[in-house]
Amino acid sequence: MRRALIVDDAVTVRMYHRQILEGAGFEVDEAENGVEALEKALVTSYDLLLVDVNMPKMDGYTFLKEVRGTPELRAVPAIMISTEAERRDKEQAYRAGANLYLVKPVRPEALALRATLMTARGGSR
């Protein structure tokens, strides 16, 4: 089964995304901030990271840069989900190494489909 890690400080958002990803057949873990997410990612291998931008302790950008700079983690596909629809926010996400940038709230079908498309190999492995 494919595994995803949801990194977001808002319970509501985590719950929303969890339902979508579980509906798409993912096994889901959650982390409240970048620090916690890094700890989890180093222990469990994930097929997908779903990352919020604004979080206490370590924000999404820093977290993603850490992931991309860590040999064991760097290849994991990551979707950054933010409330900001502006271009410069999107650019900053790519700068940090996000593979996809989505704006909240994301339509359940849209997220499920993208998550599935991006992790096809993870599931077959």
């Binding site: 339902q19 979508i20 860590t70 629809a85 502006e86 909240k104 339509r107 359940p108 489909l113 992790t119």
Partner: protein, 817 residues
């Protein structure tokens, strides 16, 4: 209720509470970056989560709050107490709206106006910020669009103005829809009329209103309004923000006479901030909403819009090319390359491209060797162009099978696979309180019903003469008794909530009040985790407000008075909760001026609350309790804060209602402690049964101090009253049989009287009864109808043997002595 909405409500309440504490903390440590970030994040999170529901006014208001906090964070704006007040107003409103969401699953009708008003005031702060610091032109300032150099540029190609995100969701969605369907496109107009424009014969309002294809507009002032006496009505300080669904040429034509005062921006579909995804079928919008407010995520709904897999693949591939072209740090290069390769491989596999994996592996190899993302980007672009061609062909209905899909099944592995979001573990159960209450009532009845078994056992033994059966019944009673007690405990446990629920509002209350009264007060809270019955905690909130208000208003002195008395200028109010046996003590302790019993006595006498006779015998301790008497107030001046002494009366009434009691301790010049003793649970009351003149009566156990037997010759007569000295205390006696007109035997010389010593509001009284019986758990039912007039009785209860027990209301008893 939709679980997501329920979660949102809980989360938002927590965040509002956090924010409220954050603002209070900022007043102590202004500009603390950690706190500011926390505040910003709280608003940000509410904004983000609120997007799942159709509650635009709330979203826009917290968005405005977020923006202002961002400016504060950037050091562009100071948080003065007045501005904090505005934020508190915002928090209050959002709190009310959350209540309304909980009750009715929608915002109150006035929310739209309130939101616009408050958000406008918040955004007004931002323009103040630009005034305060004209040089600090961050992005936020530039977006305001009033910088001189931008005004000349009549048409902007750069980024979309951020304010278009303030356009209500439904309009944004509609415009998005129009533009992706090849409609006329949308134009965002910022029209800043010249200050002297009225003299040029312009009518900016008319011009704005008549914009072709106008869909939305907002008028704002460019600067805060000056005081009325300085207002120059001939100077135009307005700014219009308009969104028109019309070709840009048409809009430009309309504004041609004032082109130098107008900025146009052609809005691209993605600028609308409508989430990514393919085109929508009509009806439900691209956000996760349906007519009821939310759509449950997970699984696709029959007939619901389905995302086009091809479109999703295109979007993902595009994103990879953008990622590869982004200016990332060299030290994450390998991560970027490998993750892109992973995603590309995955998408190709999903699209059924059998050779995809291999091509990706090759491209990654080359990319690594060259230290550049170009090979991968070329591959992604190649796949993209083929996909787009295929998409076009599909749209055009050409019967040609697209290449990437030729040798594999169509990528239909979308969420339908797992339609239901099953397998979720429920750890927290939310239950309607009415169900718990019904359960509690049943448990109460069980507790009383099981009390019938001992009577049954006695009857079996005494009437039917079957001792063995009697013993078995007694054994069984013990078992049922244990289970009933555990059940009662368990149900009570469900209803227990920490008293912090009642404490939460106090930091704010203390701050507001002390500011209003010009006093300095520090609030210390202890034992917030102490638990009590939900109803008790809820009923507690209001009396506590009265008490704290009184402490600040009457207890704590002004800073000057305090310094003169050699105290620190800042007063302290301590809110403390402790569990004591089956009671919870809630204490409000201040280090203020304390209360003078002599003053209290004199006032009470003057107001006719105290008879001359009582004035002589009343102790200092009893005098303190006079503050709870109806119509009593010691304040020299009546203030608008704590009213006219009705507060403390109300406190006692409320505490009585839940079966608790109040006590006061006070030292002149040192401070006052008021303690509310409340039962942990209100469902079951314990009373002691006493017998007087053949009748049985119940006395609430929490009032009982002791039971004693007093020889008749130790009873003293003082005037018309009787009293007895117990351990150096003079305890007045009350013969219950006489007062209640029940008769009963009075002990002769050389015999003993049974005396039940009770304490009411710090005053002790000995009740002379015929006999003491056991204590029992009862469910107290208040007297109803005509019986409710008998204030001497607190209510009735059904005993195990079917008899009705009258329970005494001791305070009324004392009052009529």
């Amino acid at each position: 209720m939709n679980p997501l909405l329920a979660e949102f409500i809980t989360e938002t309440r927590d965040l509002l509470e956090q924010a409220s504490q954050g603002f209070l903390a900022l007043e102590k440590a202004p500009g603390d970056p950690e706190t500011l970030n926390g505040l910003f994040r709280a608003m940000h999170t509410i904004k983000g989560s609120s997007g799942f529901f159709e509650i635009g006014p709330l979203t826009r208001l917290v968005h405005a709050a977020e923006d202002v906090l961002d400016a504060v964070r950037q050091g562009e704006l100071d948080l003065t107490p007045d501005r904090v007040d505005l934020f508190f107003e915002v928090l209050d409103r959002v709190g009310e709206w959350v209540d309304s969401l909980e009750a009715e699953e929608r915002l109150p009708p006035e929310a739209e106006d309130v939101s616009n008003g408050l958000a406008g005031r918040l955004r007004g702060l931002l323009s103040e910020a630009t005034d305060e610091e004209p040089s600090g032109a961050g992005d936020a300032v530039a977006e305001e669009g009033d910088a001189e150099d931008e005004r000349s540029a009549c048409e902007k190609v750069g980024t979309a103005p951020s304010w278009i995100l303030e356009v209500p969701d439904d309009i944004r969605r509609e415009l998005y829809q129009i533009s992706i369907e090849g409609g006329p496109g949308a134009v965002a107009v910022t029209y800043t009329p010249d200050e002297q424009c009225f003299f040029a014969g312009d009518d900016p309002f008319h011009t704005a209103r008549q914009t072709p294809g106008l869909r939305w507009g907002r008028v704002q002032t460019r600067e805060p309004w000056p005081p009325p006496e300085e207002l120059d009505p001939y100077r135009c300080v307005l700014r219009f923000r308009l969104v028109a669904a019309a070709p840009v040429e048409e809009v430009r034509e309309w504004f041609r006479y004032v082109m130098d005062q107008v900025e146009l921006y052609e809005v691209a579909p993605e600028d609308w901030g409508v989430p990514a995804g393919g085109p929508e079928e009509g009806g439900s919008g691209p956000t996760a909403n349906d007519e009821k407010g939310t759509r449950s995520p997970g699984g696709s709904e029959p007939g619901g819009p389905e995302d086009e897999p091809l479109a999703a693949a295109v979007e993902i591939l595009r994103a990879q090319t953008e990622l590869l072209a982004a200016p990332w740090d060299p030290d994450i290069r390998l991560g970027v390359l490998e993750s892109v390769a992973g995603v590309l491989g995955s998408v190709l596999t999903e699209l059924g491209d059998a050779a995809g994996e291999e091509r990706v592996a090759e491209a990654l190899e080359t990319a690594r060797a060259q230290g550049s993302g170009e090979p991968l980007r070329a591959l992604a672009l190649d796949v993209l162009s083929r996909l787009l061609g295929a998409e076009k062909m599909q749209q055009e209905g050409a019967g040609v099978e697209p290449a990437p899909q030729a040798d594999g099944p169509a990528p239909e592995r979308s969420p339908q696979e797992n339609g239901t979001a099953s397998g979720q573990k429920i750890r927290v159960l939310k239950v309607d309180q009415a169900r718990i209450d019904a359960l509690m009532d049943l448990v109460g009845e069980l507790v009383v019903a099981k009390n019938a078994l001992p009577f049954l056992a006695r009857k079996a033994e005494e009437v039917f003469k079957v001792r063995d059966l009697a013993r078995e019944i007694k054994n069984q009673h013990a078992v049922i008794n244990r289970i009933a007690e555990e059940l009662q405990g368990a149900v009570m446990q469900v209803r227990m909530v920490p008293v912090s629920h009642a404490f939460q509002r106090f930091p704010r209350l203390v701050r507001d009040l002390s500011r209003k009264l010009g006093k300095k007060v520090r609030l210390v809270m202890e034992g917030e985790e102490t638990e009590a019955d939900k109803n008790v905690v809820e009923d507690l909130a209001e009396p506590l407000v009265h008490l704290v208000r009184n402490s600040i208003d009457h207890g704590i002195e002004t800073p000057e008075e305090r310094e003169a008395a050699g105290k620190p200028p800042e007063g302290e109010i301590r809110l403390r909760a402790v569990q004591f046996d089956d009671q919870v003590w809630i204490e409000v302790i201040d280090d203020g001026r304390g209360m003078d019993p002599e003053v209290l006595k004199r006032k009470a006498y003057e107001k006719g609350i105290l008879s001359e006779e009582r004035l002589e015998t009343i102790t200092d301790d009893e005098a303190l309790h006079l503050i709870f008497a109806p119509g009593f107030s010691t304040a020299e001046q009546v203030s608008d804060v704590s009213g006219r002494g009705v507060g403390m009366d109300a406190v006692r009434a409320m505490v009585d209602r839940v079966g608790g009691s109040v006590s006061v301790q006070s030292t002149l010049g040192r401070g006052t402690l008021i303690r509310l003793s409340l039962p942990l649970s209100m469902a079951v009351t314990r009373v002691m049964i006493v017998e007087v003149g053949g009748e049985t009566l119940g006395v609430p156990i929490e009032n009982i101090v002791e039971t004693v037997r007093v020889p008749t010759d130790e009873i003293h007569r003082i005037k018309r009253h009787e009293a007895v000295v117990l351990r150096d205390r003079l305890v007045p006696l009350c013969r219950l049989g006489r007062v209640l007109d029940l008769g009963g035997d009075e002990a002769g010389p050389g015999e003993e009287e049974a005396v039940l010593v009770v304490s009411i509001d710090g005053r002790e009284l000995g009740l002379v009864v015929d006999r003491f019986h056991e204590g029992v758990d009862i469910i107290l039912k208040p007297l109803e109808g005509i019986m409710a007039g008998f204030r001497l009785y607190a209510g009735t209860a059904l005993l195990g043997d079917g008899r009705v027990l009258l329970v005494l209301n001791l305070r009324e008893l004392v009052a009529c002595l």
